[in-house]
Amino acid sequence: MKTLALAVVLAATAADSGARAEEPMNDLEIAHAAYTAGGLDIRYAHLALAVSENDAVRDFAQTMIRDHSAVNEAAGALVTELNVTPQDNALSQALVEGAAAKRAKLMTLDGAAFDCAYANNELGYHQLVNKTVAESFIPAVTVAPLKALLEDALVTFRAHEKHAAQMVAGLRCAD
């Protein structure tokens, strides 16, 4: 079953880029999008390490780099094992465009304003990615090892979502 409704996902993920896609995604496109999402969060983390002086933010960013690198390394190993090439697609492109716009906004900030913007973005990003992986990617993929990898990755991403929520609460951004 390769049909995957992306309109809702893209409406949220690509709000900054305005990108939309209605085409169903296949396994290779799903793999590409998941890998891309992880890579983009690593880029956010590197930006946080360059800008933030808050220990909680920096610790979170280090964790994102460490964990998403591990997940993407596992994905790379699976791709090699299966001898396939992930396919670029509208969702991956929308994620890249949306992240570029978000990074541009983040780079205009510093101090507590940056920390709160980064933390809130991480929470929202993980909420959206986790919903997409759980409700769209995992049900749609047809290759068992990819489904297993996504299920394992989701465990990690859900831990990140909780961690991000704690970071947001700890920063007291609403005060």
């Binding site: 964790t63 465990v155 990690t156």
Partner: protein, 101 residues
């Protein structure tokens, strides 16, 4: 009583206890061992983890997926620990002396 079989407890010699790391949790969360026993952490998660003493007395360092790390406990006491990468992950080890065990 000469010739009577001696009761041999499981802890008459050093043992190894496994703690599995999965779904961002230590399992079992709490263990009780005797002095000289070892704990082996096995990481089944994609993400790397550590087992790090709360008082910094010991640390497994990073444990990648599928890897194991062993710590041998030579002194009695309570050892609360956590994952340095994901501090919400917590566990505890109670090390008893062999005389009280």
């Amino acid at each position: 009583m000469a010739g009577a079989p001696r009761t041999v407890r499981a802890h008459d010699r050093a043992h190894e206890v496994e703690v599995r790391i999965a779904h961002f949790a230590f399992d079992p969360t709490w263990i009780e061992i005797l002095v000289g026993d070892s704990v082996i952490w096995i990481n089944n998660d994609l993400a790397p983890h550590t087992a790090t003493a709360k008082d910094a007395a010991w640390d497994t360092g990073s444990i990648d997926r599928g890897d194991t790390r062993r710590i041998t406990f030579e002194a009695p006491g309570e050892h609360p620990y956590f994952c340095a990468f994901h501090p919400h992950m917590k566990g505890s080890i109670l090390v008893r002396s062999r005389s009280e065990g």
